[in-house]
């Protein structure tokens, strides 16, 4: 009989204490903590109740035994899944191409292993080294060939890389004119032009 009284008293204390404590006291717990402590106290009460519960007799049938095993399993896992569902959830960014800008789509293409740019090129410290570092390619591109704008130079680099081979590098970059659609090439171009 004493156990329920103790539980009720402690839960009451958890909820009444803030009425007497100001925020300035630095001891006042907010409502999420009150819920947290309430759950802890209820659970503690349950634990002590289990300590004095009468022994459970063995099961009469295998079916009953199996059924109760399943219940224990579902109960334990269920409580945890429930807790995880009421806890604060972080938001996660949508990554499918749907709402992305041209630049974002271009970046995704660049790091898409099926396209393979990053296997040869480094951007911001990650990627391959067989091709030039592209971290600031938008600034470099305009100076490669006199009279050719950055945009035209980059376009050419993608469609016909052999037209101008950057010194000290081999002529190994495959042309992408056929392998990528014109939308994809445009997305890549937008992305590369953003790398100032």
């Amino acid at each position: 009989m004493r156990l329920p009284l103790i539980v009720v008293a402690v839960v009451a204390a958890v909820w009444l204490a803030p009425l007497f404590l100001s925020v300035e006291s630095g001891l006042r717990f907010g409502w999420p903590y009150q819920i947290f402590f309430t759950l802890v106290v209820l659970f503690g009460g349950f634990v002590f109740y289990m300590l004095r519960a009468k022994p459970t007799p063995p099961f009469k049938s295998t079916g009953k035994a199996f059924g109760s095993m399943v219940l224990v399993f579902l109960g334990s896992i269920g409580v945890i899944v429930l807790l995880a569902n009421v806890a604060p959830q972080f938001g996660f960014e949508e990554t499918s191409a749907g709402g992305a800008t041209a630049e974002e789509r271009g970046r995704a293409l660049f790091s898409n292993p099926n396209v393979g740019c990053f296997l040869c090129h480094t951007i911001a410290g990650s990627g391959g080294t067989r091709g030039p570092d592209l971290s600031h390619v938008a600034s470099v591109a305009g100076k490669r060939r006199p009279g050719v704008s950055a945009e035209d130079y980059l376009k050419e680099s993608l469609q016909d890389p052999a037209a101008f081979v950057v010194p000290t590098f081999d002529k190994i970059m495959p042309p992408f004119a056929q392998r990528l659609s014109s939308e994809e090439l445009a997305d890549l171009l937008t992305y590369l032009l953003s790398l100032k």
Partner: protein, 465 residues
Amino acid sequence: MPPGIPLINDRLIIWVVAELHLLFAAFVLGAPIFIVICEYLGLRTKDSRYERLAQETMKIVAISYSLAALFGAAMTFVLIGKYQALANFIFGRFYPLFGLYALLLLVESILMYVYWYTWDALAARKRIHISIGVALNLVGTVVMILMNGVGSFMLTPPPSPEQASVWQLLNNATWTGLNLHRFIANISFGGFMVALFAAFMFLTSRKDKDEDRAFYDWMGYIGNFIGVAALILLPVAGYIYAKEIFAYNATISTLLMADKLAWFFVIQGVLVVLLFLGAIYYMWLSIQRIRGGVRFRSYFRGVFLVALVGLTVWLVPQNFLPSLTAESTSPIEEVAIPERVTFLGMMPAKGLAVSAVILVTAFAYLLYRQAIATGTMAWGKIDTKAQFALIFLPSLAVFTMSFMGPIRELARGQWHIFQFMADTTRESFVPPLSYTAIMAGITTLVFFLLMSAVFWLGFKVAHKG
């Protein structure tokens, strides 16, 4: 939510299949370690129960082995079919390693079947049989260590993974930590599975089989003991592992412990709390089957009180914000720990609280030893509730594994291979806590169903004829 029909998209398929592969692999790697030890103890102490425990557990391992292989193959198929770029890179760069892996798997399978099928034939030459078991464990551990290299590589690749040697890929920043953590976890996991099996057999044993019940009561006790003992070591390995991650890239650890994934660790905290309390509760019920054990009741009240207070301090979160940058809808003094008691949210308080809990758990065990020394043990006369504790503990242990595994994977964010190969598939998404917990629940459920089927086939159906 990921696009597509729930549960039937590539991302979720690879998730469930990989997790099931890991669970079965953990069991067939962890259990033989103490199977051999038990066989040896049986030889030394002449207590035939050790021999029976070893043999029955090995039978479950032998059946589960093919399930581990099945899910391993399924995982490879999904990787090759749906994650070609990643599969190409992994299998291409680690090619020599996978060759060695295949060879060692062959050796392991042979050793396993020899070990299992010569059990009776070599009954008179136990030392040879035990040596085969030791060899099996050595090969099994190497197999695990090789694959841990691939798993840890994806989170902490060395600089320029295309040029690095296979050894550099393998010997990446978190290889050691993962090895240590998995090795200990596998033993704990194997112990809990034995406890689960024993509870299953105890509860479904026939009324006229007192001898069986006495044995399975004892077996559950041993299994649970191994499970809990290894579990207590696990935080140390976890700490080393976390430190390696921190040294490699501090932003990953921040994401894990303080930012978006922080609440995963609060839930993990709840799981650990429940595991400890369940273990102490089981000890309390075990003590009562010893004549004269009830006089320890008042001590156990104290043990539970300290444990509950300690665990509350350990769990109480520093704040209730979902991430570092989240906008809170409530004023900050509502959702963060009050000023004067902020220490409750800090590491020293948490460490102290956990130490207290571990100490009282050890104290409860000492009480139990004391009861054995002064009373008479009545194996098989244990309260049925204790068997429920032995189902409760493995359920949570399996869930914890299925839940923490994804955290390790989610730490990579949008990357297949951290900051090297992005996941650009249509289904790529970082699932929130609720979603992950549901997925872990589903995996755990499937695993338990398969395990029950293994127990049933191996020990109920087979024994009818």
